[in-house]
Structure formats: structure tokens, C-alpha cells
Amino acid sequence: MTPERWEQIHDVLQKALELAPGERSAFLNQACSSDPSLRQEVDTLLASSDDVRSSFLLQFSGPRVTLTAGTRLGEYEVKSLLGSGGMGEVYRARDSRLGRDVAIKVLPPFVSSDPNRLRRFEQEARAAAALNHPNILAVYQMGTYEGAPYLVSELLEGETLREPIRRGRLAVRKAIDYGVQIARGLAAAHEKGIVHRDLKPENLFVTKDGRLKILDFGLAKLTQPQSSSENSALTLTEGTEAGVVMGTVGYMSPEQVRGQPADHRADIFAFGAILYEMLAGKRAFQKPTSPETMTAILNEDPPGISGVTPNLPPSLQRVVHRCLEKNPEQRFQSASDLAFALDALSDSGSSSSDSAVHGATGAGRRWKIIVPATVTGLTLSIGAYFVFFHHKPKLTDKDTIVVADFANSTGDPIFDDTLKTALGVSLQQSPFLSVLPDSTVTKTLQMMTRPPDAKLTPDVTRELCQRAGSKAYISGSIGSLGSEFVVGLKAINCQSGDSIAQEQVTAASKEKVLEALGEAAAKLRGELGESLATVQKFDVPLEQATTSSLEALKAYSLSFGVYNRDGSAASMPYLLRAIELDPNFAAAYNEAGISYSYLNQQGRAGEYFGKAFQLRGHASERERLDITANYYQNVTGDLDKAIQVFLQETESYPRTTEAYINLGIAYASQGQYEKAVEITKHALRLAPGDIGCYDDLTNFALDLQHFDEARQIIQAAHARTLDNRILHIGLYALAFLGTDPAAMAEQQQWFAGQPNYENLVLALASDTEAYGGHLGKARELTKRAVDSAIRADNKESGAVWQANAAVQQAAYGNAAEARQTAEKALKLAPASQSSEVEAALAFAMAGDAARAETLAQDLGKRFPLDTQMQSLWLPAIQAQLALDRKNPVSALTALRATTPIELGNISWVVNGSCLYHVYVRGEAYLAAGNGTAAAAEFQKILDHSGIVWNCWTGALAHLGVARANALQSRTSQGADADAARVRALAAYKDFLTLWKDADSDIPILKQAKAEYAKLQ
């Protein structure tokens, strides 16, 4: 094509585009009458005009619409930009017809890229425009401009309610006055069926003459996920929006936090939070991070206002508390009731407001009190102003820093990695500073095409710091001066290269170097802008926080590099060496515990976590919290306690990723997967390169049956070249759930040549075979898994695979084999909690009650605080024993304890959980003759295939459903009985189809076939 030809096509094409589709043909007939090939070209291009609407070119075009002065939108002429923000821009415009100024809010085009969303916006906006109330912003018109929807409204002058609140708590009378106005506006809207859903001080406007206006009705819904499915999709808000979300979170009602449908009573809750804030001068629910705020909204009552604002009328406090009831049913049921209740207080409020401000003093003394208060207020604000401009902090708590390698000119290699690690420990005590995580350092080095263990010289560090978007880097040096050592620290702005802080200290001897470094680091923290209070609070002297042995610290430091390069197994010798050099090195025990748990050796991990816990006094505050939480999570198994410590950790160190990750895992162990996802997404926001977050999110998505999302998460990790076994196991699970044997084999192949994890994938394959009833193959694979585990010095995993197999053999009816396998498991790893519980269950199922009883008693004594032990495993074993004694009622009673956490993740199995306790409960209902309840239990297993996946319970649940329905058909009459019989036949068929090529000698299969034949 030539430019001239294209010019011709363009001319005709753009004219055609300006016409309505129906008129185009006539126009083209005429315009191309002499040139049929022109017509053809234009037609081809026009044909794609429909596609182009949905294509990237339109989706991505015009991220926002900017209006310049003079632009006309209908009868409005734009005059100037008033403000802009995440949800668009607001302009002042002139309505020439009515001769008044209006405000025009232009929303970003993404709002309109989805037709459904746009339609909803229009509906809501029209409804809001229909609202005519003095306390609601009047909306005059709406339309679209260049694809961006806009709203025309009255122009207000004044400020948002946020401003007066920021200046301090409001006088009671004023708060009531504003409250009544808001409530009246809400009542008018609710009457028309319009709910705000995003009420907050920022959405309430106080005009110059004291009138209160509710803004943005109908917009709130736009900014929120549209449905629960969208809600659960993995969508993180962008960085700048996080603040907005966080700001809004504090006013969300519990039902909104849970993602449940919210009606007008959600507005009442938000209203309560705002009234509280006006009266108390601080938020009702304010925590450092949004997940914690959400937790508080769900579970906590806000601190009593009377503590902050004395002499508040009790009736007013009651109004606030009634609005803030967790259960919508217990709140005011309508905004007009609320307006009425508040209005009634406004008379008494005028006197009580006086007494609240002035206490019991007489009217005559009023001025004396007010005047100094005003003056102080003035001085304070000037003071703050002064401080802000003259002592601007060098870093803010949003910045990250990078630590460079030390320049060591002493000639003694002991200082090489050691001082950097020590500095890291010292800086990480600070809740203010955030050191760029190792994972991000490695990734960024990769992007700079440097090896992951490249030396971080000042030049390399500066570039790395720039690329990672960090603010500054710390470069340290050590040199010797006679017998003394000089340690220097310098913080450098990585953009400008300017030094922003520096410290130099001298150590009298080699032994004093760590102490000196700790001292220098503490001073540097202060210089960088951290408050003295937190520097003092979180400053365990370095030699106490880590170790007084430089050699031990060296080994400990080296372990991290090795871990990053070669993984847990390789780093272990360094950690053990560090412990050998300093037997009181708490952090090294803790790290060893973590490494063992990565290697699936929970027993050993527990020993090291326990030791670290004993020595936790020898650790920095941050390490101490970490050690304590690990102890509760992995040793005593007390999930509530672990959660408490993690929450404490996130409170002290809101930017620490690990605490959030672990908190997520703890919630998952309780089966609270939604909460776990929320927290883990927050962790991912803090550390976008952390593979642990991807691992956990993958598992949680599976647990929640969100299979597409699980796959997307894995793909997202892979796109960032993050990869590990957990993601591949996730893919294996997805392949299994999608019945794709080729994909399963492919994932299995990934593990080839990884001696530490070969046993794991063999065990997985064994479970898959057992699920399909191929017991011969399953036996063979379990044996190989056990052998491989023993070769990898991981007897505990071997024992777990055996114990797993034993439970399955018992369930399939091979009791003698089950007992033997369980014995083998106990012999292989005598002290393993995980294999012991499963062996106990296997014995109970295989008829060896005595053996099961002894084991259960022992476990109960050894793990008195372990949440899952006490609430899942022991009840399941007791229930099975009761079933053996033909006492289903007592079995069901025992299993009652399992209900709250029954869907929780089990840490030592590869899938989420086999849901044994649910299976046993199903069996118990069968034995009790309650077919309906039994069917529900077995169905629960089938409905949670993302938790169970290839575990045998998933296969036998089909049979369970069949038996439950058969039972129901026997115990009911007429049509009910017939229907149950049909369901039973279908379920038997499902099971027999699943096991169509199963080994024929499996006892439970023979029974199933006989039952099926009898029923037919």
C-alpha cells in the first residue's frame, strides 16, 4: 500500500465511521462507485470496528480524560480543574443557561470499559440524581465525554468532614448536629432504596454555612468488586490505592468485611464509626494495617469513648454503640429512627456539650479555659509547622533501604559477611526502616544481569537501589587502626548520591566490634528519621541479640547465601556449625527449625524451634516474636496463641512480610481460608517477589475450590521466574482435578533428580493410584517413596507416607495389612507426631482398639495445647473407637469438637487435608441410621475436592453417598424412598465407574458391588 492509497482509504473510512451503521452502505456505494477495490479495503477495515471495541486498542486508549478550559459539555463550559484523584477529576464549570457554577466529575474510562459496570453506574447515578434532599449533594446531569462518564452536580464551597476531625474532636453539640444531618440524608436515600456503601468523613462535606452534604452516592458501588466471585479473584489494588482502601476499611461494616451482601444497615454502621470519630477525635477501628483493621471490625468493640471524651451523655454513647453492633439486626433498623434518636439528644446535647468541654466549672470561668486552650492550639500548630520544615525526616516509613557489603580493609576475612548480617539484624529491629528483602535483591541483580551472589559494592548497590525503587543504601566499612577497629556507616540517597547520614565508632578490640556496630546502627536509625522512642524500645544490643561469637555469626551469615543459592538442605550444615560455635545462638536454632520444616521434617524442626524458644532472651525483639510464634505454631500447635503473636508482630513491625505469611498459614490451619487469602495478599503487596506468598495463595485458592485462580497464581509466579516444588505440586493437583494424566506425569517429571523431594512426589503418585483403586501400584509406589525418604535422611516423611497408606488400607478393608504398615511407620520414626496420629487412626479403623487407645493417650499428654491434635485428631480417633464399640452416638459426640476447624489445612500432608474426621462422622451417621446427615458429610468431602484431591476419602465419599442414600431409601416411604434409591444407584455407579479398572480383590469394592446388585 502507498501513502496516497492509505490517504484515500482513510478519507472514506473516517467519513463512514461518522455515519450511523445503517447509512454507511449507501455512502460507500456512492463514494467508491468508480473504485471497487477501495470499497473492499474500507469494508474489511469497517468489519473490524466491532472487534476493535473489545480489543486492547480501545481498552487501553485514553487512561483519563483531561478537560481544558473552554471545553463544552452540553450546556456546561469548563472553567478550571478543582482537583484530581483516583476516581477521576473534578472541574468547575459554568452553566450558561442558568447562570450558575457547577462541578463536573469525570470518571476514568476504565469505569466505562465494562458495559455492565457502566450500566450499573448509570442506574445508580440516575437514582442518586432523583434524590432531592438538602443533605445530599444534588446531581444535575450525567453523560459521557470521550468514553469517560461524568456527573454534573452543585458546586460546594467548604471542606470535607475529614478536616475538622483532623483538627481535633468536635464539640458534642456540633457532632450531634452533623450526625442528625447525615442521618436525614441517609434516610432520604434509603427510602428510595439507595445505599451508599462507602460512607466516610471524606465523603461528607461541610459547607461554609455549616450544612452537611453526603457525596458520591452510587459511586461507591462502582469502586467495589461486583460479585463474590470477583471479590475472590486475585486483584490487588495498586500502591496508591492501598492507602485509599485502608482509609475506607475503617468504616466498613462487618458484613462488608466478610464480603457478604450489605444493605442500608451497612451505612448505619459506617455512620456509627463516623459519629464515634467526631466525638472521640480518633477512629473507632484503627490498626496499622488494613487486615488488622478488618479483624478489629469483625471481632472487637471500639475503645469506650467516655475514656477519651469525658462527660459524654450516656444516651449518646448508646446511640453510637447501637450503630456499631456487629450484627445488623441489632443496629438501628432505619436511618430515620437514628435521626429521630439523635435529634432528641440535640436539646440535651447543647447543655451536655458545654459540660463536656468545660467540665463542672461555672459559666463565669468559661473564658479563662477557652482562651489558653486556643492559644496552645495555635502554638502547637505553628510548632508542628516549624518542625516539619526544619527537621524534615530523611526517610519516611514508606521507604525501603538496601544494605551494601562492608568494605573490609582489616585483612581479616571474619568480618566479610558477618558485619552485614549483624547490621541487618540491628536495622531490622526497627519498625521504621524496611530493608529490601533478599528475594528482591536477588531478582534485581538478575535484572542487572549480575549473578545473584554478586558483591554489593557501593556502585552496584546504588544501581540496585535505584532499580528497586528504594530510597537509600547503607554502606559500611571496617578498618584497623593499630589494635583498634574503626566501623563506619553511611546512608546514601541512591538517586542523588548524597550522603544523608553517617556514623563512625571505634572498637577497642575484635571482640568489641559487634557492640560498636550495634551502637552505630542505633544512632544511624535516629539520624534517618526514626523516633527516639522506637529506637530505644527496639534496641537489644547486637551482641546479645545475635551472638557474641564472630565465628558463629560468620557461619550463620554464610547459611543465607547458601540457602538462596542451593536451598534448605545445603544451608543446614552452616546453621549447625553456628550452633556448635555458640550453643546459645537463638536465631540460628530458629533458622534451623525453619529449614527442617521446609524439608518436611517436622519432628526435627520442633526440636530446634523448642530450643530457640528457650533461648529467646538472646534475640532481638523481632527475632523473639518470630521464635515465639514459630514455637506456638510448630511445637505446641496452639493456633490461637500463634495468631496472637503474629498479630503482635505485625503491629510492631507492620512491614514484615513473614509475620503476615505465617498468620495466613495459621488461619488456614483453622480452615479460615478467606482470611488467610486476605492476609497473604497483603504480604504479597509488601514483598511482591516473595515466592512463599505465591505458594500459599496457590494452596488457599485450591482449598477454596478456585481452580482457575490457583492456576493464574502459579502462572503469575512463573512469569516472574519464581518457581519451586509447591507450585509444581499445585499444578499436579490441578492436573489431577482436571483428570489430565499427561499433565500429572509432566509435573512428576519436574521432581526428577531432586533427591530431597523425590519421596514426596512418589507418595503423591501412590495416593493417586490408591484413589483409582490400583492398590498394587500404590503399594509399590509407597515402598519407593519410603526408601527414597530414608535415602534423603528423612525417615519422618517415610513414616508419614506409611501411616497414610495404613489408614487407606484400613478403610479399604485390608485390616491386617493396615496394622502391619502402621507398625512399620511407628518403627521408622518413633517420635514423630504426624505419623503417630495417623497410625493411631489406622489402628482404630483396623480393629486394634488397644493399640489406638494407648497411642491416643500418649499424644494427648504430649500435645495438650495443640489445637489440631485436641480438636481434630483425637476426636477422630475416639470416634472411630466408639464406632468399633458400636456406639455411634458417642462417636458423634466426640466429633462435635472438630466442627469449627474441620476444613483446616494439615501441615504435614501434601494435599490440604484428607478430612478423615468428616469421613468418620459420615460413617457414624450411617451407623446411627441417619442417612440424610451421612450423605451431607460425604458430600462435604466431594464438595471440597480442592482440599482432598487425590486422597482415598475423595473416592470412598462416592460410596458413602451411595450408602447414605440407600439407607435413606430404606428408612423412608413413597416418593422419598424412590428418589433416595435413584440417588443411591447413581452414586454407586459413580463409585464403580471410578474404580472400573481397580484391583478386583479389594474388600470394600466387593461389598460395594454386592450392595449395588442388591439395590438394582
Partner: protein
């Protein structure tokens, strides 16, 4: 954001001023400009990431950083005004994204996997074949250079019709018409190349 009277966060004049200071040799001016222009760059960068990946924050941040680093490396060029500056940014964005997409393709071919840019930039290439788009834009430039520039500014730079018209010194009506037909042509072209 409220409906009330507030100051604009981004007065265009300031950016232009800073830019001219930068040209006058004041290195610091670029750093001062960054926070102001940052939003613009980010908005442009975000469009690739939206609805794409869970971790798009870092990705677009990385894209902006990369553009910024290149801008800095280039040194103070002649910037006429804010639109011109944004136009240069659009060019950089295109360069970065296309280079990245090409390196991905090359890496796939020789089986290796080496990234020159943070792999965090891994936006979903399925939805926009950056390489095909780049090729098509180059072809369009031969037919009508201005149309190709319009797409670059709108798509890679995130400029509005108004801004584009100022940057290219064309009337908004012309920009609109060119943009409309260029879109159809590109769409057709890219689809053809993917069918082959």
C-alpha cells in the same frame, strides 16, 4: 477526592518550568520533576497491567523506573513543554516494552531465558502482542507518520486527545479522525499477522 475547592495536584506549568531548568543544566530539576511526572508515567504504565496480573504494582513501577533511568541516561534533551516530555516518555515506554517482548521471543527460540529488564515486567503478552503492534506501527509510519505518532502517544504515553493534539500541533478533530482509522487499520494488520 471531594467536590470541594482544592488545588490541582499537577499544575502543568510547574512541570514545564522544571523541565526548562533541567535543560539549563540543573540536574536536580529532573528529580523534582519526577514525582510530578511520575503519576503520568504510572498511569501510562498501568494500562498494560490492569486486569492482568496480581502483582502489577511492581511491574508498572518497574516500567516507570526503567523509563526514568533511560531518561536520565539520555541527559537533558530539548523539551518544549510538558506534552513533549510525555511524548518522549511514550517513545521510551514503547522501546522498553517492545525490546522486552522481543527478548522474550528470542529467549523462547534459543531455549534460554535471560531477561534484560526486570521480569516483573511480564505483562500478559497474549492480550497485546507487543512485537506485532510495533511492526504494525512501523508500517503505519510509512503510510502516515502522524498517525503512527498518535497511536504511540495515546497508547504508550497515555495522552488524551487534547494532549496529543497539543504535542503534535494538530487540531483535536484531526487527531480524533486519525486515531479512529489508525485503530481499525492496526487491528486488522495485527490480526492478519497473527493468522499467518
Amino acid at each position: 477526592m471531594s467536590w470541594g475547592v482544592q488545588l490541582s495536584q499537577f499544575p502543568p506549568k510547574t512541570v514545564s518550568e522544571l523541565l526548562s531548568n533541567w535543560q539549563a543544566g540543573d540536574e536536580q530539576a529532573l528529580h523534582e520533576t519526577l514525582p510530578l511526572v511520575y503519576d503520568e508515567l504510572r498511569r501510562a504504565a498501568h494500562r498494560y497491567m490492569r486486569n492482568e496480573r496480581p502483582d502489577h504494582t511492581l511491574q508498572s513501577t518497574a516500567l516507570v523506573h526503567e523509563a526514568y533511568l533511560r531518561l536520565e541516561k539520555q541527559g537533558a534533551a530539548e523539551f518544549k513543554n510538558r506534552e513533549h516530555f510525555l511524548a518522549i516518555c511514550a517513545q521510551l515506554m514503547r522501546q522498553i516494552l517492545v525490546e522486552y517482548a522481543r527478548s522474550r521471543k528470542a529467549a523462547r527460540r534459543d531455549g534460554g531465558f535471560r531477561l534484560t529488564l526486570d521480569d516483573a515486567l511480564a505483562f500478559k503478552t497474549q492480550s497485546v502482542d507487543m512485537v506485532a503492534l510495533d511492526d504494525a506501527l512501523n508500517q503505519l509510519a510509512k503510510l502516515n507518520a502522524q498517525q503512527s505518532r498518535i497511536v504511540e502517544l495515546r497508547f504508550f504515553g497515555g495522552l488524551s486527545i487534547e494532549e496529543t493534539s497539543r504535542a503534535l500541533n494538530l487540531s483535536p478533530t484531526t487527531v480524533k479522525k486519525y486515531w479512529a482509522t489508525a485503530r481499525l487499520w492496526l487491528h486488522h494488520q495485527i490480526r492478519q499477522s497473527s493468522d499467518q
